[in-house]
Protein backbone atom coordinates (compact mmCIF):
# COMPACT_ATOMS: atom_id res chain seq x y z
CA UNK A 1 0.00 0.00 0.00
CA UNK A 2 1.30 3.40 -0.88
CA UNK A 3 -0.04 4.67 2.41
CA UNK A 4 2.56 2.75 4.40
CA UNK A 5 5.10 5.53 3.95
CA UNK A 6 2.63 8.04 5.34
CA UNK A 7 2.13 6.20 8.58
CA UNK A 8 3.00 8.35 11.52
CA UNK A 9 4.25 6.31 14.42
CA UNK A 10 2.67 6.56 17.82
CA UNK A 11 4.33 8.93 20.20
CA UNK A 12 5.96 7.50 23.26
CA UNK A 13 3.14 8.93 25.36
CA UNK A 14 0.54 7.04 23.34
CA UNK A 15 2.49 3.81 23.63
CA UNK A 16 2.54 4.34 27.37
CA UNK A 17 -1.23 4.83 27.33
CA UNK A 18 -1.68 1.44 25.66
CA UNK A 19 0.12 -0.16 28.55
CA UNK A 20 -2.42 1.07 31.08
CA UNK A 21 -5.60 -0.94 30.74
CA UNK A 22 -7.20 0.82 33.70
CA UNK A 23 -6.58 4.30 32.29
CA UNK A 24 -9.39 6.71 31.55
CA UNK A 25 -9.38 5.91 27.83
CA UNK A 26 -9.60 2.44 26.28
CA UNK A 27 -7.35 1.18 23.48
CA UNK A 28 -9.80 1.91 20.70
CA UNK A 29 -10.46 5.41 21.98
CA UNK A 30 -6.68 6.01 22.18
CA UNK A 31 -6.40 4.93 18.55
CA UNK A 32 -9.26 7.21 17.53
CA UNK A 33 -7.45 10.09 19.23
CA UNK A 34 -4.31 9.20 17.27
CA UNK A 35 -6.31 9.41 14.05
CA UNK A 36 -7.72 12.76 15.15
CA UNK A 37 -4.47 14.33 16.27
CA UNK A 38 -1.88 12.76 13.96
CA UNK A 39 -3.90 11.33 11.05
CA UNK A 40 -2.37 8.03 12.17
CA UNK A 41 -3.11 5.42 9.52
CA UNK A 42 -1.91 2.50 11.59
CA UNK A 43 -4.36 3.45 14.32
CA UNK A 44 -7.09 3.89 11.72
CA UNK A 45 -6.38 0.40 10.38
CA UNK A 46 -6.67 -0.98 13.93
CA UNK A 47 -10.09 0.67 14.32
CA UNK A 48 -11.13 -0.67 10.94
CA UNK A 49 -10.07 -4.22 11.76
CA UNK A 50 -11.79 -4.16 15.14
CA UNK A 51 -15.05 -2.40 14.34
CA UNK A 52 -15.35 -3.03 10.60
CA UNK A 53 -16.41 -6.69 10.70
CA UNK A 54 -18.79 -5.98 13.60
CA UNK A 55 -20.43 -3.07 11.82
CA UNK A 56 -20.70 -5.10 8.63
CA UNK A 57 -22.44 -7.93 10.53
CA UNK A 58 -24.73 -5.34 12.12
CA UNK A 59 -25.57 -3.81 8.71
CA UNK A 60 -26.40 -7.26 7.33
CA UNK A 61 -28.77 -7.78 10.30
CA UNK A 62 -30.53 -4.62 9.18
CA UNK A 63 -31.57 -6.43 6.01
CA UNK A 64 -29.06 -5.14 3.47
CA UNK A 65 -27.28 -7.31 0.93
CA UNK A 66 -23.51 -7.71 1.06
CA UNK A 67 -22.83 -5.13 -1.67
CA UNK A 68 -24.92 -2.52 0.05
CA UNK A 69 -23.39 -3.35 3.43
CA UNK A 70 -19.87 -2.85 2.04
CA UNK A 71 -20.87 0.44 0.52
CA UNK A 72 -22.32 1.73 3.79
CA UNK A 73 -19.32 0.36 5.67
CA UNK A 74 -17.01 2.41 3.46
CA UNK A 75 -19.14 5.44 4.13
CA UNK A 76 -18.90 4.84 7.90
CA UNK A 77 -15.11 4.61 7.89
CA UNK A 78 -14.76 7.52 5.50
CA UNK A 79 -16.71 9.56 8.08
CA UNK A 80 -14.58 8.20 10.96
CA UNK A 81 -11.44 9.29 9.08
CA UNK A 82 -12.84 12.72 8.21
CA UNK A 83 -14.58 13.59 11.44
CA UNK A 84 -12.11 12.13 13.95
CA UNK A 85 -11.21 15.68 15.05
CA UNK A 86 -14.76 16.04 16.41
CA UNK A 87 -14.34 13.06 18.73
CA UNK A 88 -14.34 13.99 22.44
CA UNK A 89 -12.82 11.16 24.48
CA UNK A 90 -14.12 12.64 27.74
CA UNK A 91 -17.71 12.17 26.63
CA UNK A 92 -17.81 8.88 24.83
CA UNK A 93 -15.75 5.77 24.21
CA UNK A 94 -14.78 5.19 20.58
CA UNK A 95 -17.34 2.38 20.27
CA UNK A 96 -20.23 4.75 21.09
CA UNK A 97 -18.97 7.47 18.74
CA UNK A 98 -18.49 5.03 15.87
CA UNK A 99 -21.87 3.42 16.60
CA UNK A 100 -23.54 6.85 16.25
CA UNK A 101 -21.83 7.43 12.89
CA UNK A 102 -22.80 3.97 11.66
CA UNK A 103 -26.40 4.50 12.78
CA UNK A 104 -26.61 7.76 10.83
CA UNK A 105 -25.09 6.21 7.70
CA UNK A 106 -27.54 3.33 7.94
CA UNK A 107 -30.54 5.64 8.19
CA UNK A 108 -29.22 7.61 5.25
CA UNK A 109 -28.66 4.54 3.07
CA UNK A 110 -31.58 2.30 4.01
CA UNK A 111 -34.35 4.78 4.72
CA UNK A 112 -33.27 7.53 2.34
CA UNK A 113 -33.83 10.09 5.06
CA UNK A 114 -31.55 12.59 6.62
CA UNK A 115 -31.61 12.04 10.35
CA UNK A 116 -32.77 15.18 12.19
CA UNK A 117 -29.98 16.20 14.56
CA UNK A 118 -29.23 19.11 16.86
CA UNK A 119 -26.35 21.41 16.02
CA UNK A 120 -24.19 22.75 18.89
CA UNK A 121 -23.26 25.75 16.69
CA UNK A 122 -26.91 26.79 16.28
CA UNK A 123 -27.71 30.09 18.07
CA UNK A 124 -30.85 28.40 19.45
CA UNK A 125 -28.84 25.58 21.01
CA UNK A 126 -29.06 25.49 24.81
CA UNK A 127 -25.49 24.78 25.97
CA UNK A 128 -24.58 22.40 28.78
CA UNK A 129 -24.49 24.06 32.18
CA UNK A 130 -21.04 24.48 33.72
CA UNK A 131 -20.09 21.15 35.31
CA UNK A 132 -20.80 21.06 39.02
CA UNK A 133 -18.68 19.55 41.79
CA UNK A 134 -18.82 15.88 41.00
CA UNK A 135 -16.82 14.99 37.93
CA UNK A 136 -18.55 12.70 35.47
CA UNK A 137 -17.07 9.24 35.06
CA UNK A 138 -14.37 8.99 32.41
CA UNK A 139 -15.55 7.52 29.13
CA UNK A 140 -13.89 4.18 29.78
CA UNK A 141 -15.50 3.81 33.18
CA UNK A 142 -18.88 4.77 31.73
CA UNK A 143 -18.52 2.09 29.13
CA UNK A 144 -17.49 -0.56 31.67
CA UNK A 145 -20.32 0.48 33.98
CA UNK A 146 -22.87 0.26 31.15
CA UNK A 147 -21.57 -3.17 30.17
CA UNK A 148 -21.95 -4.41 33.75
CA UNK A 149 -25.37 -2.81 34.18
CA UNK A 150 -26.66 -4.35 30.92
CA UNK A 151 -25.82 -7.78 32.28
CA UNK A 152 -28.01 -7.02 35.30
CA UNK A 153 -31.15 -6.32 33.25
CA UNK A 154 -33.94 -8.86 32.96
CA UNK A 155 -33.90 -11.04 29.85
CA UNK A 156 -36.96 -9.20 28.56
CA UNK A 157 -35.35 -5.80 28.94
CA UNK A 158 -32.11 -6.97 27.33
CA UNK A 159 -34.11 -8.35 24.43
CA UNK A 160 -35.83 -5.00 23.75
CA UNK A 161 -32.48 -3.17 23.81
CA UNK A 162 -30.83 -5.76 21.59
CA UNK A 163 -33.67 -5.70 19.06
CA UNK A 164 -33.62 -1.88 19.04
CA UNK A 165 -29.88 -1.23 18.87
CA UNK A 166 -28.62 -4.35 17.21
CA UNK A 167 -31.44 -5.47 14.93
CA UNK A 168 -32.56 -1.89 14.28
CA UNK A 169 -36.24 -2.73 14.82
CA UNK A 170 -38.89 -0.17 15.75
CA UNK A 171 -41.01 -0.75 18.84
CA UNK A 172 -43.96 -1.60 16.59
CA UNK A 173 -41.89 -4.26 14.80
CA UNK A 174 -40.68 -5.62 18.13
CA UNK A 175 -44.27 -5.81 19.45
CA UNK A 176 -45.32 -7.80 16.39
CA UNK A 177 -42.27 -10.05 16.53
CA UNK A 178 -42.71 -10.85 20.23
CA UNK A 179 -46.51 -10.91 20.13
CA UNK A 180 -46.85 -8.38 22.96
CA UNK A 181 -48.57 -4.96 23.14
CA UNK A 182 -46.67 -1.90 21.93
CA UNK A 183 -47.04 -0.32 25.38
CA UNK A 184 -45.27 -3.30 26.95
CA UNK A 185 -42.30 -2.91 24.60
CA UNK A 186 -42.01 0.78 25.45
CA UNK A 187 -42.29 0.18 29.16
CA UNK A 188 -39.58 -2.51 29.01
CA UNK A 189 -37.34 0.01 27.27
CA UNK A 190 -38.07 2.64 29.93
CA UNK A 191 -37.48 0.18 32.79
CA UNK A 192 -34.19 -0.91 31.22
CA UNK A 193 -33.03 2.69 30.99
CA UNK A 194 -34.15 3.48 34.53
CA UNK A 195 -32.08 0.54 35.75
CA UNK A 196 -29.02 1.68 33.77
CA UNK A 197 -29.34 5.19 35.17
CA UNK A 198 -29.66 3.89 38.72
CA UNK A 199 -26.57 1.72 38.29
CA UNK A 200 -24.43 4.33 36.62
CA UNK A 201 -25.27 7.38 38.61
CA UNK A 202 -27.10 10.66 38.45
CA UNK A 203 -24.79 12.42 35.99
CA UNK A 204 -26.97 11.09 33.19
CA UNK A 205 -29.57 13.69 33.86
CA UNK A 206 -31.96 13.66 36.75
CA UNK A 207 -35.32 13.43 35.06
CA UNK A 208 -38.41 11.31 35.05
Amino acid sequence: MESASKVIRFTRARRAAFGQPAGPVDDMSTRLLAVAEQRDREAFAALFHHFGPRIRAWLLHGGGDAGKADDVLQEVFAAVWRKAHLYDSRRAPAAAWIFAIARNCRIDAFRHERRPEFDPEDPSFQPDPAPEGEQALAARQRSDAVRAALAGLSEEQQEVLRLSFYEGESYTAIAIRLGIPLGTVKSRARLAFRHLRAEIGPQWGALQ
Binding site: A57, P93, A96, A102, W204
Partner: protein, 226 residues
Protein backbone atom coordinates in the same frame (compact mmCIF):
# COMPACT_ATOMS: atom_id res chain seq x y z
CA UNK B 1 -35.05 32.80 22.94
CA UNK B 2 -31.38 32.15 22.34
CA UNK B 3 -29.04 31.39 25.15
CA UNK B 4 -31.15 32.40 28.08
CA UNK B 5 -31.48 29.93 30.92
CA UNK B 6 -34.55 27.76 30.65
CA UNK B 7 -36.08 25.25 32.95
CA UNK B 8 -37.59 22.36 31.08
CA UNK B 9 -40.10 20.45 33.15
CA UNK B 10 -41.60 18.04 30.64
CA UNK B 11 -39.04 15.88 28.86
CA UNK B 12 -39.19 13.34 26.08
CA UNK B 13 -39.68 9.86 27.56
CA UNK B 14 -36.79 7.42 27.78
CA UNK B 15 -38.37 5.07 25.24
CA UNK B 16 -38.26 7.88 22.67
CA UNK B 17 -34.64 8.73 23.54
CA UNK B 18 -33.63 5.07 23.22
CA UNK B 19 -35.36 4.70 19.85
CA UNK B 20 -33.75 7.95 18.65
CA UNK B 21 -30.36 6.73 19.89
CA UNK B 22 -30.83 3.34 18.25
CA UNK B 23 -31.92 4.98 15.01
CA UNK B 24 -35.29 3.23 14.90
CA UNK B 25 -37.57 6.23 15.40
CA UNK B 26 -39.59 7.49 12.44
CA UNK B 27 -38.67 10.80 10.85
CA UNK B 28 -41.52 12.86 12.32
CA UNK B 29 -40.84 11.81 15.92
CA UNK B 30 -37.06 12.10 15.36
CA UNK B 31 -37.63 15.72 14.43
CA UNK B 32 -39.36 16.33 17.76
CA UNK B 33 -36.71 14.50 19.78
CA UNK B 34 -33.81 16.25 17.99
CA UNK B 35 -35.44 19.64 18.61
CA UNK B 36 -36.01 18.88 22.29
CA UNK B 37 -32.37 17.75 22.53
CA UNK B 38 -31.21 21.10 21.11
CA UNK B 39 -32.96 22.76 24.06
CA UNK B 40 -32.32 20.20 26.82
CA UNK B 41 -28.81 19.37 28.14
CA UNK B 42 -30.23 16.74 30.53
CA UNK B 43 -31.72 14.70 27.70
CA UNK B 44 -28.49 15.05 25.69
CA UNK B 45 -26.71 13.37 28.60
CA UNK B 46 -29.27 10.56 28.43
CA UNK B 47 -28.70 10.25 24.68
CA UNK B 48 -24.98 9.76 25.39
CA UNK B 49 -25.95 6.86 27.61
CA UNK B 50 -28.05 5.36 24.82
CA UNK B 51 -25.15 5.67 22.38
CA UNK B 52 -22.81 3.99 24.86
CA UNK B 53 -25.31 1.12 25.02
CA UNK B 54 -25.17 0.93 21.21
CA UNK B 55 -21.38 0.96 21.29
CA UNK B 56 -21.21 -1.79 23.92
CA UNK B 57 -23.67 -3.99 21.97
CA UNK B 58 -21.74 -3.56 18.71
CA UNK B 59 -18.43 -4.11 20.47
CA UNK B 60 -19.51 -7.31 22.16
CA UNK B 61 -21.19 -8.86 19.11
CA UNK B 62 -19.35 -11.65 17.29
CA UNK B 63 -17.09 -9.98 14.71
CA UNK B 64 -18.13 -11.98 11.64
CA UNK B 65 -15.87 -12.41 8.63
CA UNK B 66 -12.66 -10.40 8.20
CA UNK B 67 -12.83 -7.54 5.75
CA UNK B 68 -11.32 -7.00 2.37
CA UNK B 69 -8.30 -4.70 2.83
CA UNK B 70 -9.35 -2.75 -0.25
CA UNK B 71 -12.31 -1.39 1.72
CA UNK B 72 -9.89 0.32 4.10
CA UNK B 73 -8.12 2.23 1.34
CA UNK B 74 -11.42 3.05 -0.34
CA UNK B 75 -12.76 4.52 2.90
CA UNK B 76 -9.82 6.89 3.33
CA UNK B 77 -9.97 8.12 -0.25
CA UNK B 78 -13.75 8.27 -0.53
CA UNK B 79 -15.03 11.66 -1.67
CA UNK B 80 -16.93 13.65 0.88
CA UNK B 81 -20.56 13.13 -0.08
CA UNK B 82 -21.98 14.45 3.14
CA UNK B 83 -20.14 17.76 3.13
CA UNK B 84 -21.54 18.55 -0.30
CA UNK B 85 -24.97 18.17 1.20
CA UNK B 86 -24.05 20.42 4.13
CA UNK B 87 -23.58 23.14 1.55
CA UNK B 88 -27.17 22.93 0.40
CA UNK B 89 -28.24 23.46 3.99
CA UNK B 90 -26.47 26.81 4.04
CA UNK B 91 -28.95 28.13 1.46
CA UNK B 92 -31.47 28.88 4.16
CA UNK B 93 -32.54 32.54 4.17
CA UNK B 94 -30.85 35.45 5.96
CA UNK B 95 -30.78 36.23 9.69
CA UNK B 96 -28.30 33.39 10.01
CA UNK B 97 -27.28 34.60 13.46
CA UNK B 98 -30.71 34.36 15.04
CA UNK B 99 -32.23 34.52 17.53
CA UNK B 100 -34.44 31.82 16.10
CA UNK B 101 -37.73 30.47 17.36
CA UNK B 102 -37.05 27.19 15.56
CA UNK B 103 -33.88 25.33 16.57
CA UNK B 104 -31.70 23.95 13.79
CA UNK B 105 -33.29 20.58 13.05
CA UNK B 106 -36.65 22.31 12.53
CA UNK B 107 -35.30 25.25 10.52
CA UNK B 108 -33.62 22.81 8.15
CA UNK B 109 -36.83 20.90 7.69
CA UNK B 110 -39.12 23.94 7.39
CA UNK B 111 -36.70 25.92 5.21
CA UNK B 112 -36.31 28.87 7.58
CA UNK B 113 -37.55 30.41 10.81
CA UNK B 114 -41.24 31.07 11.59
CA UNK B 115 -41.62 34.43 9.85
CA UNK B 116 -40.69 33.05 6.43
CA UNK B 117 -43.01 30.04 6.42
CA UNK B 118 -46.24 29.46 4.51
CA UNK B 119 -48.70 29.32 7.42
CA UNK B 120 -52.13 28.05 6.41
CA UNK B 121 -55.29 28.64 8.37
CA UNK B 122 -57.02 25.54 9.70
CA UNK B 123 -59.89 27.48 11.32
CA UNK B 124 -60.45 29.03 14.73
CA UNK B 125 -57.46 31.34 14.22
CA UNK B 126 -55.17 28.32 14.33
CA UNK B 127 -52.56 28.07 11.59
CA UNK B 128 -50.22 25.27 10.57
CA UNK B 129 -47.21 24.37 8.46
CA UNK B 130 -47.02 20.66 7.56
CA UNK B 131 -43.44 19.33 7.86
CA UNK B 132 -43.71 15.56 7.55
CA UNK B 133 -47.00 14.66 5.98
CA UNK B 134 -46.64 11.89 3.46
CA UNK B 135 -47.35 8.24 3.95
CA UNK B 136 -49.30 6.26 6.50
CA UNK B 137 -46.83 6.88 9.33
CA UNK B 138 -46.45 9.71 11.81
CA UNK B 139 -46.94 13.28 10.75
CA UNK B 140 -45.24 16.44 12.01
CA UNK B 141 -46.57 19.99 11.75
CA UNK B 142 -45.94 23.38 13.24
CA UNK B 143 -49.05 24.84 14.88
CA UNK B 144 -49.70 28.44 15.83
CA UNK B 145 -52.45 28.85 18.42
CA UNK B 146 -53.38 32.50 19.09
CA UNK B 147 -52.80 33.72 22.64
CA UNK B 148 -55.64 32.59 24.91
CA UNK B 149 -57.30 30.30 22.31
CA UNK B 150 -58.06 26.61 22.72
CA UNK B 151 -57.64 23.76 20.28
CA UNK B 152 -61.00 21.95 19.79
CA UNK B 153 -61.38 18.99 22.16
CA UNK B 154 -60.04 15.85 20.54
CA UNK B 155 -59.08 12.28 21.30
CA UNK B 156 -56.45 10.16 19.61
CA UNK B 157 -56.31 6.90 17.77
CA UNK B 158 -52.58 6.95 18.33
CA UNK B 159 -49.92 8.84 20.16
CA UNK B 160 -49.48 12.63 20.08
CA UNK B 161 -46.43 14.59 21.24
CA UNK B 162 -46.32 18.40 21.29
CA UNK B 163 -43.14 20.43 21.78
CA UNK B 164 -43.52 24.11 22.69
CA UNK B 165 -41.32 26.57 20.78
CA UNK B 166 -42.86 29.93 21.74
CA UNK B 167 -45.51 31.05 24.22
CA UNK B 168 -47.08 28.37 26.36
CA UNK B 169 -50.02 26.00 26.55
CA UNK B 170 -52.04 24.59 29.38
CA UNK B 171 -53.17 20.99 29.22
CA UNK B 172 -54.64 18.67 31.83
CA UNK B 173 -53.32 20.53 34.84
CA UNK B 174 -49.92 21.79 33.78
CA UNK B 175 -48.27 24.55 31.80
CA UNK B 176 -45.86 23.77 29.01
CA UNK B 177 -43.26 26.31 27.89
CA UNK B 178 -40.42 26.46 25.37
CA UNK B 179 -38.69 23.09 25.26
CA UNK B 180 -41.42 21.24 27.16
CA UNK B 181 -43.04 18.19 25.58
CA UNK B 182 -46.67 17.23 26.19
CA UNK B 183 -47.64 13.62 25.55
CA UNK B 184 -51.17 12.36 24.87
CA UNK B 185 -51.70 8.61 24.73
CA UNK B 186 -54.43 6.95 22.68
CA UNK B 187 -57.08 7.23 25.39
CA UNK B 188 -56.59 10.87 26.29
CA UNK B 189 -59.27 13.38 25.34
CA UNK B 190 -58.03 16.93 25.82
CA UNK B 191 -58.44 20.56 24.87
CA UNK B 192 -55.08 22.31 25.17
CA UNK B 193 -55.19 26.12 25.45
CA UNK B 194 -52.54 28.70 24.60
CA UNK B 195 -51.36 30.96 27.41
CA UNK B 196 -52.53 34.59 27.33
CA UNK B 197 -49.07 36.22 27.01
CA UNK B 198 -48.29 35.51 23.35
CA UNK B 199 -49.22 33.20 20.48
CA UNK B 200 -48.18 29.62 21.13
CA UNK B 201 -46.06 27.98 18.47
CA UNK B 202 -45.46 24.28 18.81
CA UNK B 203 -44.37 21.21 16.91
CA UNK B 204 -47.08 18.54 16.95
CA UNK B 205 -46.34 14.95 15.99
CA UNK B 206 -49.06 12.33 15.74
CA UNK B 207 -48.78 8.73 14.69
CA UNK B 208 -52.45 8.51 13.71
CA UNK B 209 -55.19 10.98 12.81
CA UNK B 210 -56.86 12.89 15.62
CA UNK B 211 -60.45 12.07 16.50
CA UNK B 212 -62.64 15.06 17.28
CA UNK B 213 -65.38 14.75 19.89
CA UNK B 214 -68.18 16.90 18.54
CA UNK B 215 -69.38 17.16 14.95
CA UNK B 216 -66.74 19.33 13.40
CA UNK B 217 -67.80 22.89 12.69
CA UNK B 218 -67.51 23.72 9.02
CA UNK B 219 -64.94 26.31 9.93
CA UNK B 220 -62.71 23.63 11.40
CA UNK B 221 -63.11 21.07 8.63
CA UNK B 222 -59.56 21.49 7.40
CA UNK B 223 -58.35 20.84 10.94
CA UNK B 224 -59.86 17.39 10.68
CA UNK B 225 -57.17 16.68 8.13
CA UNK B 226 -54.77 16.57 11.05
Amino acid sequence: MGRIAMTIEHHVSDDLLIAYGAGTLDEAMSLLVATHLALCPACRAALELAEIVGGVLIDSAPPGAALDEALLEAAVSRPDREDNREDTRQDIPPAATGPFVLPRPLRDRAGGDIAGLAWRSVGGGIRQVPLVADGPGATARLLLIPAGKSVPAHGHRGFEATLVLAGSFYDRGSWHRRGDVGIADPFVVHQPAAGPEEDCICLAVTDARLKFQAPIPRLLQPFHGI
